[in-house]
Amino acid sequence: MKITTELVDYVSVLSRLKLPEEEKVKMAGELEQIIGYMDILNRLDTSDIEPMSHTFPVKNVLREDVVEDFGGRAALLSNAPAHDDTAFLVPKTVD
């Protein structure tokens, strides 16, 4: 599959990334290599194999509905680039 710089632009908008022009070209080449590997995998006949979403054969990992208070607001907030005493701060969002 051909990866154009337009496609790189589209993906970077979705990922909120700003790439300089020369990096876009580099990225397009690298992405094409990665997607190219999928072409190799696609040569395999998988018509009688069920698609798999998880690598471990586990299911129904469930917990009881019992409240536990984590109680570490300050510790959580301290992981963010910006916060005040009670909340995470983010750039202005427009609805």
Binding site: S15, D65, L89, V90
Partner: protein, 478 residues
């Protein structure tokens, strides 16, 4: 040209679990910002979500009650988008294997019955709250709601009017409230609805271009938004010869109009992929059987039974089954010995008035159904007259006080001593010769005044039927 409106609904319903969908934080409403959070629901690297058993149970019950095919091998997917209401930059939702599909919800509008098809029902997590601070020109993110469990119920475009939409939402609210899976309070946001609407010429089978309306916070807003948006689209096509643009529009309750939400990012490309952190869920036949067995009698079945077994009118039965708690209160009153018709009258009259006056929910009422049954019994036995019983009811309603003690302390027992009643009536007639003369002269109204005087003399404790009979007898004898 005659236009037909075509509507589909996406309804988000908050599940009534104690904890969030993937972590043990409380789902309690409110709370100081970021006090109902932990590393999982704030999306800290390395944290591991674990599915809440109750969420699976509630979503499966809702699917069964809405006549869906339950997906017995079910899993989650990631819906990727960048917006700070979700700290992980993706929402855990279900795309490929939603828990319920192909449901059917019968509704009734007027005398017409119709089935609304459910396309799918899936589980997902709610997002956080963003509040912009103009002072610092930054936005505060509060993740207390982040990870609260939701089910989203998506219908086929089967509605042809606002009335059908309201009938469906009423049915949905009643069903989920009876199941106990959600309290479905629209004003608190536990039931939220997006309306997809298009118009087409009557008789056409092709769908027109649709718009999606958001921010609909009440049934009234939904009705008005549907009427507005249908007219807007019809006029756009017919008068302006323009096309409807597929877009999201926000309902503005003050302006009574829908307004385009122009988003810079047009690409709605969520790049879904299977959620690797949450293993798939298998819902066995025996698990689903046990859920079916635990489902309560629903409103339509109760309505039918109240009419058939207890002879209530359709209207009374509908009112009493509006919520499961109301139906339980009524049934408990009947179980405690009250005649169903009497219990129905008292609940719809006195109990509902108290609820309205005091802005209470039936769930908050402390006055016991057994006490109501006892009060009804005292009236039946003739120990209290109806008016006095209402006074007693009001006096003891707030604290479930002792009815017998109150009646005794205030000397309210009905006077059933016929000798005393006869004496009082004679005295009243003797004391009011003018009214008696009026009555004799044909002014039948005068008997009402005399009746009032008799009841007053008996301090309101007479049996109105006995007093009125005695009065009429004596007037006829004069």
């Amino acid at each position: 040209m005659n236009w037909e409106v075509v509507i589909g609904l996406e309804t988000h319903v908050e599940l009534a679990t104690k904890t969030k969908i993937f972590c043990s934080c409380t789902t309690a409403f409110g709370g100081d910002p970021n006090t109902h959070v932990c590393p999982v629901c704030t999306g800290m690297p390395g944290s591991l979500p674990v599915m809440n058993k109750k969420v699976l149970e509630y979503a499966a019950k809702a699917s069964l009650a809405l006549n869906c095919d339950v997906t017995q091998y079910c899993k989650f997917d990631r819906k990727n988008y960048f917006y700070p209401d979700l700290p992980k930059a993706y929402q855990v939702s279900q795309l490929y294997l939603p828990i319920g599909r192909n449901g059917k919800v019968p509704i009734q509008v007027g005398s017409e019955e119709k089935v609304i098809r459910i396309h799918e029902l899936h589980m997902e997590e709610d997002a956080g709250k963003l509040v912009h601070d103009n002072w610092i020109d930054q936005t505060r993110a509060d993740y207390n709601r982040c990870g609260v469990p939701l089910i989203e119920i998506v219908t086929e475009p089967d509605f042809r009017s606002g009335d059908e939409v309201i009938a469906y939402l009423e049915k949905l609210r009643s069903t989920l409230e009876y199941l106990g899976v959600s309290d479905c309070k629209m004003q608190e946001g536990s039931l939220r609805c997006d309306v997809n609407l298009s118009v087409r010429p009557q008789g056409s089978t092709e769908l027109g271009t649709r718009t999606e309306m958001k921010n609909l916070n009440s049934f009234k807003a939904i009705s008005r938004a549907i009427a507005y948006e249908a007219r807007r689209q019809e006029e756009l096509i017919e008068m302006d010869h323009k096309r409807v643009i597929q877009e999201t529009r926000r309902w503005d309750d003050n302006k009574d109009a829908t307004i385009s939400m122009r988003s810079k990012e047009n690409a709605q490309d969520y790049r879904y992929f299977p959620e690797p952190d949450i293993p798939p869920m298998e819902l066995t036949d025996s698990y689903l059987d046990s859920l079916r067995a635990s489902m309560p009698e629903m409103a339509p079945a109760k309505r039918e039974r109240y009419q058939r077994e207890w002879g209530l009118s359709e209207k009374d039965a509908a009112l009493l089954t509006d919520t499961r708690a109301m139906a339980a209160y009524f049934e408990d009153t009947v179980a405690a010995g009250a005649a169903p018709k009497q219990a129905s009258d008292w609940i719809q009259g006195e109990v509902l008035r108290e609820l309205k006056e005091k802005s209470l929910d039936i769930k908050q009422v402390v006055f016991a159904p057994e006490a109501l049954a006892h009060l009804i019994d005292l009236v039946r036995q003739g120990k209290l007259n109806r008016n006095t019983a209402v006074k007693v009811f009001r006096a003891v309603f707030d604290d479930n006080g002792d009815i017998d003690a109150y009646v005794k302390a205030h000397g309210l027992e009905q006077v059933n001593d016929t000798g005393l009643v006869e004496q009082v009536v004679s005295d009243v007639l003797a004391a009011n010769p003018q009214s008696v003369a009026d009555y004799k002269a044909g002014k039948k109204k005068a008997s009402g005044f005399l009746m009032g005087q008799c009841m007053k003399a008996l301090k309101g404790k007479g049996d109105p039927k006995v007093v009125s009979q005695t009065l009429n007898k004596k007037l006829a004898e004069l």
